[in-house]
Amino acid sequence: MDNRTEVPYGTLDLMVLKTLAGMGPLHGYGIARRIEQVSEGSLALNQGTVYPALLRLEQRGWISSEWGVSENHRRARFYAITRAGRKQLAAEEATWSRTVRILSRLLEEPS
């Protein structure tokens, strides 16, 4: 059995935003690699799923995209976080850490 966890529902968008905020403009492949690197192989990410996530974020105006040239000299689409995206990221980070705090307190409590 694979002991890697699935991407928790609704967190991929946050991961993508955080990656773009930290790394600057990246293409889809770069984003997927980065998320895998950070998770150190403990996340079962179908790399393709970043594309619907990117579309979703772009539709909301949180990221923007343009064509560029990748490190191996291929045409690639580069995504960058927008001002609205940073605001959204800050808000979601706060929500997320609050959720995590609550959950860990609940789980630590001896039952």
Partner: protein, 889 residues
């Protein structure tokens, strides 16, 4: 904000589908290459590196599908897809599509056409501001409406303070209308109105000014407001403003046009559209002084309510005024019994037309609704059969993972598409149909019905279309998608588990269709028979070959009556025209439009309430000309008038009511409430009963008297040898030349009779047409169901005939099945007919709504059509080659 932005982005991408697809493809390809390159760096051979990249990426087409769904509007995408699919389906079955669209167009078109007229006649408000404030004002004594006389109206209007305006109106009989140049204008209709008419209705003229109170004074200069339609008709292309100040002569008196009413304004009475409006005070100048006399109660009164006075209070206050002014009211021959005033909603104006046509229209509406129901049954059947034929296809699609909801939507889209096309055609049909309907309804009358496609009509049509889709589309679609996938795939469309349910549903539909069409056919035969009865009844006289001259009730006709020499001359000249057999004149005769009633008393008995006789003055030869047989005694002869002993002829009804079984000949009667021997007349004969010009009326209580100078001559009857129509022109000429009568209506009696049964003809023609349509729909439905049943049981039929069943036996067992359906439908329909036909009782003449002959006739016609429709497919099934039938499985 964000949801809006997302929607905008999704909408944008609807138009960039191809670009977006290309972009995603490029991105994925670049991604895969990068992945593969990395794997290669780690030492995998290039083919395996590519596979590893694909594995790591996840399902490419899945991602693409998710992306696509998220990018655009999946609902719209699916709809477009469904529509394309539906179009392909319809194109693949043009016969089915054409039949379905035609049926729907007919059904929805007929309903819309009738509703459009119903809307104009029953629902529409007057085209004036705040029509809901208008009320019709009626005066009653007990339950009887007693109306207002014009002087009484004026008194009340001058004193009342409870309504914002009280207006009166009345038709002005037009004898002649002409331009200043003397050029006559034909067919002019005019209305006399009180001075406050236009301001109270809130109608501002298009140009010029409206009538004012100052115009409604006997001393005022005669002015008129004309309708916009009449402006175009009478003055043609003259600029609208040039019309002002022009003179129109009405019944000889000159009127100055001071204003033109706005286009679309037809007055306060739905169904009539006057050409001009003149003030009441002008009545004496246009020979209508009688209408505003204290004795006449021919005017209608309307009021606009004040927002601050409740209708109940206004009603009471006006009633009080009426009572206070009863001195004037008393002159309307009412006596001094208490009267009250009642309001009725006036937002839709006066309802002469409504009273006349709303019931027939409602019935027609119901008939058309039933026809649409039948059309829906047929379509449901057709779709059901098609759904069965597509069982296999649908099974495959369900097996491949299509959602049932998605499939249901797809099948419904097809029905929607059919309905949309059918409705569009139906609207075109309705535009034509309602004009025909009005032409048919208004034949021989002056009704003007303003129809249009207002929001009410369009929402009705949309509602009918939506109901139709639900009725015929939903059940087959649900049935089609509720099948067992395995069974559907194995059965390959034949004898699948779902089919049994389909068959039951289909049979129920056919039974319903037969029942509904029996109701329609029986209803139609009742109405057609009633119409036939009206025209073929015993009128008491012979209507064929009679030409009827109706004279207006005015000075010339009275002058003629007072001048026996001229009467003599006129009769002789008319009788001398080629083709004329005989001529009779009468005053207030039963065939004319004017009647005069009085009470009859006997020497030993004062008059009773029901002795209200119609008193008719007739010339010698009246009975002979009309071919009214004399039952006893003699008819009125030359010399009976004038100085000799006064005589009378009674109708049989009058004789029976006055004298019972006694012989009336030689008895004396007097036309007054108590016997007056001075003016008594002697009964010299009894004539057979005649029906008045309206063929629905009962035989009259008639007392014929010899002509005297006191009663105007109101009609002339001319018996002709051939077609009476061709004599109209020479008769008109003679009337003008000999007696100076210019305004007579001269037409064959049959025309008058027919126009007085216009409503019956309307009902007979339309219900007959719908009845035939119902027969057609029922036969198509039956044919379909038997053909489908036969096809479904091809195998069974094959086995039966292989085992030795003859063709007759096979078609017999198929027909038996149909016979059962037919019988069920007939019983249901028969019961429904007996219940529903009571609704048209009031329209039937000379037969009862449950007339067994008509019901049997309808059932027989329906059975015959059904048997033919069922026999054709049954025979074809029986001729099936058993080998082929068996192999087909």
């Amino acid at each position: 904000m964000t949801p809006l932005r997302v929607l905008a982005a999704r909408l944008r991408s609807l138009f960039r589908r191809r670009d977006d697809d290309a972009r995603l493809r490029a991105e994925i390809e670049a991604h895969l290459e990068s992945l593969a390159a990395e794997h290669k760096r780690r030492g995998l051979p290039s083919a395996e590196a590519r596979l590893a990249a694909l594995r790591e990426f996840g399902g490419v087409s899945q991602i693409r599908e998710i992306h696509r769904e998220q990018r655009g509007l999946p609902f719209l995408d699916a709809l477009a897809q469904d529509l394309r699919y539906a179009f392909r389906q319809l194109r693949a079955n043009p016969g089915f599509a054409a039949a379905a669209i035609f049926t729907l167009a007919l059904g929805i078109g007929a309903n819309t056409a009738i509703f459009r007229v119903l809307d104009a006649v029953v629902f529409r408000s007057l085209p004036v501001p705040h029509p809901e404030q208008l009320v019709l004002v009626g005066a009653y004594r007990g339950d009887a409406g007693i109306g207002f006389s014009y002087p009484l109206y004026r008194e009340i209007a001058a004193r009342q303070q409870v309504v914002a305006g009280l207006i009166a109106m009345c038709d002005l009989p037009i004898e002649s209308a002409a331009l200043a140049s003397g050029q006559p204008i034909d067919g002019v209709t005019a209305r006399m109105v009180s001075g406050g008419y236009f301001p109270t209705l809130g109608v501002a003229p298009r140009i010029g000014r409206a009538l004012a109170d100052s115009d409604d004074q006997p001393s005022a200069a005669p002015v008129a407001v004309i309708s916009d339609r009449f402006r175009r008709r009478a003055f043609g292309d003259a600029g609208a403003a040039d019309v002002l100040g022009q003179t129109i002569r009405i019944n000889g008196a000159p009127f100055t046009v001071v204003g033109v009413a706005p286009p679309g304004f037809f007055g306060e009475s739905v169904g009539s559209a006057p050409d001009l409006w003149v003030p009441f005070a002008m009545a004496p100048r246009v020979k209508a002084g009688l209408m505003i006399s204290p004795a006449a109660k021919m005017i209608s009164v309307m009021a606009r309510l004040r927002p601050d006075v409740s209708p109940a209070r206004a009603q009471t206050a006006l009633g009080l005024l009426y009572t206070q002014l009863r001195e004037l009211a008393a002159q309307t021959f009412l006596g001094r019994e208490p009267c009250r005033v009642e309001f009725a909603s006036g937002s839709q104006g006066l309802g002469g037309l409504r009273a006349h046509f709303s019931e027939p229209l409602w019935i027609l509406m119901a008939i058309a609704g039933l026809v649409l129901l039948m059309a829906c049954c047929n379509l449901a059947n057709l779709l059901m059969a098609r759904a069965t034929a597509r069982t296999h296809e649908i099974g495959v699609r369900l097996a491949l993972g299509a959602g049932r909801a998605r499939l249901l939507r797809q099948l419904l889209t097809e029905s929607l598409l059919l309905t949309a096309i059918g409705t569009a055609l139906g609207l075109a049909l309705a535009a034509w149909g309602s004009r025909q309907l009005i032409a048919l309804a208004a034949a021989g009358s002056h009704w003007q019905i303003p129809i249009d496609f207002g929001w009410r009509v369009l929402s009705f049509t949309a509602g009918a279309a939506a109901a139709a889709v639900c009725l015929f589309g939903l059940a087959p679609a649900i049935a089609a998608t509720r099948l067992e996938v395995n069974a559907a795939l194995q059965g390959a469309g034949r004898s699948a588990g779902g089919s049994r349910g389909h068959a039951a549903f289909t049979k129920a539909l056919v039974v319903a269709q037969i029942a509904v069409s029996l109701v329609l056919v029986a209803g139609a035969s009742l109405l057609v028979r009633s119409f036939w009865n009206l025209l073929h009844q015993d009128f008491g006289y012979r209507p064929d070959g009679l030409l009827l001259v109706s004279l207006p009730l005015d000075a010339p006709s009275l002058a003629l009556a007072k001048n026996p020499g001229q009467v003599q001359l006129l009769s002789e000249r008319l009788a001398g025209l080629p083709g004329v057999r005989s001529v009779a004149l009468d005053g207030m005769g039963p065939l004319g439009s004017w009647q005069f009633s009085g009470r009859i008393s006997l020497p030993d008995r004062p008059s009773r309430d029901d002795d209200n006789a119609l008193l008719v003055n007739v010339s010698p030869g009246y009975f002979e000309t009309l071919a009214i047989p004399i039952a006893a005694g003699r008819s009125i002869a030359a010399g009976d008038g004038g100085g000799s002993a006064q005589v009378a002829v009674l109708s049989e009804t009058a004789a029976r009511r006055l004298f019972g079984r006694d012989n009336p000949i030689g008895r004396r009667i007097s036309a007054s409430p108590s016997f007056d021997s001075l003016h008594a007349v002697e009964v010299v004969g009894v004539a057979r009963d005649v029906r008045p010009a309206n063929p629905r009326q009962a035989f009259g209580f008639l007392v014929y008297l010899p002509q005297s100078g006191k009663i105007p001559i109101t009609s002339i009857e001319i018996r002709t040898a051939g077609d009476p129509g061709i004599l109209a022109a020479p008769v008109r000429h003679t009337l003008r030349e000999v007696a100076g009568l210019r305004t007579a209506s001269v037409r064959p009696l049959w025309e008058t009779l027919r126009s007085s049964v216009g409503q019956d003809r309307l009902m007979a023609v339309l219900s007959g047409a719908f009845g035939v349509l119902a027969l057609l729909l029922a036969s198509v439905g039956l044919y379909g169901v038997i053909a489908y049943g036969a096809e479904r049981r091809t195998q069974e039929i094959g086995i039966r005939s292989a085992l030795g069943a003859t063709r007759a036996q096979i078609s017999g067992f198929l027909m038996r099945e149909m016979g059962t359906l037919l019988l069920c439908g007939l019983v249901l329909g028969g019961v429904a007919t007996l219940i529903l036909a009571r609704w048209i009782r009031a329209m039937l003449f000379g037969l009862a709504p449950h007339d067994p002959a008509m019901l049997l006739l309808a059932a027989a016609a329906l059975s015959l059509v059904a048997l033919i429709a069922g026999y054709l497919p049954a025979r074809r099934a029986a001729r099936l080659d058993p080998m082929r039938a068996l192999r087909q499985e």
